[in-house]
């Protein structure tokens, strides 16, 4: 082992240490995070709803954003579109089949920052028993100290899912084959 390798190794080790991502827990308890969805109604307007119960964590370091990772667990049964009869239908076999598939999950595999400050978060989404790779467009909203002695970072993400790909074949019409997710994620640094 020559000196060059040792120095290179030391520099690399130093880089890794300084770039060690901070771990955050998503603030679902304070409801500073939300998983919202929109789907077109007949092509004439948008219906919006959300999943009320979820939890998750992420790690993120501004100096090395590419090392970021996220895991989120979602309870599909907590779907809420502000209409009991519709929510009952959404939980049924026609849509989320929550009795058979009580858990949904997103686990990231890569985080690719772009020059303009946005990023693409890639990962596997498990929904209705189907696991598929998806890309989420992410913008960072901000990070810093909160007034109560903690440290927070927050993002917004959007993505589009085709219902058919997750085994949801109920015919809502040609304008309503995709659902758009709008994710607000605020984490508290641990």
């Amino acid at each position: 082992m020559n000196l060059k390798t040792v120095i290179a190794g030391a520099i690399l080790a130093g880089t890794i240490t300084s770039a060690q991502a901070a771990d955050y827990v998503i603030d679902d308890k304070g409801a500073h995070a939300s998983i919202n969805f929109s789907i077109k109604h007949l092509g004439y307007s948008w219906v919006v709803g959300r999943f009320n119960e979820f939890n998750g964590s992420f790690s993120y370091d501004e100096a090395n954003p590419a090392a970021s990772s996220v895991t989120v667990n979602i309870k599909p049964a907590s779907v809420d579109s502000n209409h009991a009869e519709r929510d009952k239908h959404l939980r049924s076999e026609d849509f989320l089949a929550v009795d058979k598939f009580p858990e949904a999950k997103f686990v990231s595999t890569a985080f690719t920052p772009a020059d303009d400050g946005s990023a693409v978060l890639s990962g596997n989404l498990t929904l209705r028993g189907v696991t598929k790779p998806i890309d989420i467009s992410v913008t960072k909203i901000g990070e810093g100290k909160d007034p109560w002695g903690g440290y927070r970072a927050g993002f917004r993400g959007t993505t589009e899912l085709k219902l058919k790909e997750y085994g949801i074949n109920f015919n809502l019409g040609p304008a309503s084959e995709s659902v758009y997710l709008n994710l607000n994620v605020e984490g508290i640094r641990q």
Partner: protein, 188 residues
């Protein structure tokens, strides 16, 4: 002779007879209507109208059942026709269960539609307001109870009808005719 409206110890009056048959017809009609709702898809023309009828009829039935129970307590119910004791007990139990299943089905149906605080519109005529939800995802639990008790109710109603026919054709007593003809006196 005037038409007897109220019951007397020997026969049913017009009030009880009309209430019995109107509520019976509604209960019998509501079951296939409810099953049909479950088969509707988003682009069916009936997707909104049939549930609307089902809910409207349900609320009217709830009102009629309240009147029926009230009417029964206000009247002297004719004495049961002679039967062996076990059958007499079974008859009493079946009748009580018919009332209980009807009530449970009506209440659970109401609890599906009002789980989010929305009232139930009755034929664009008036609205029954919602009561606060009792539990989370009330519409799911109420929905399962609604289906279960409605199926039990329609099955028991079928047994009830068969029993009435048995009384009429086998026992040859006045059980069925006194629920049709208010002048039918039964000597007890």
């Amino acid at each position: 002779m005037a038409i007897p409206v109220t019951d007397n110890p020997k026969s049913f009056g017009l009030g009880s007879i009309l209430l019995h048959w109107f509520t019976a017809l509604m209960i019998i009609g509501m079951y296939p209507l409810g099953l049909y709702i479950g088969t509707l898809t988003y682009y069916d023309a009936d997707y909104h109208t049939v549930p609307y009828w089902h809910k409207s009829i349900g609320m009217i039935l709830m009102g009629l059942m309240l009147v029926r129970v009230l009417w029964r307590t206000m009247n002297t119910t004719p004495a049961p026709l002679p039967q062996p004791k076990p059958l007499l007990l079974a008859t009493k139990a079946a009748h009580l269960l018919l009332y209980l299943l009807t009530a449970t089905t009506l209440i659970s149906g109401y609890m599906i539609s009002t789980a989010d605080g929305r009232g139930i519109e009755v034929f664009n005529w008036f609205e029954i307001p919602a009561l606060p939800a009792v539990t989370e995802n009330q519409e799911d639990i109420a929905g399962e109870i609604h289906y279960l008790t409605a199926t039990m109710l329609i099955s028991l109603a079928a047994i009830h009808a068969l029993a009435a026919l048995k009384h009429h054709f086998i026992d040859k007593d006045k059980t069925l005719t006194r629920m049709i003809n208010m002048r039918q006196e039964t000597n007890q």
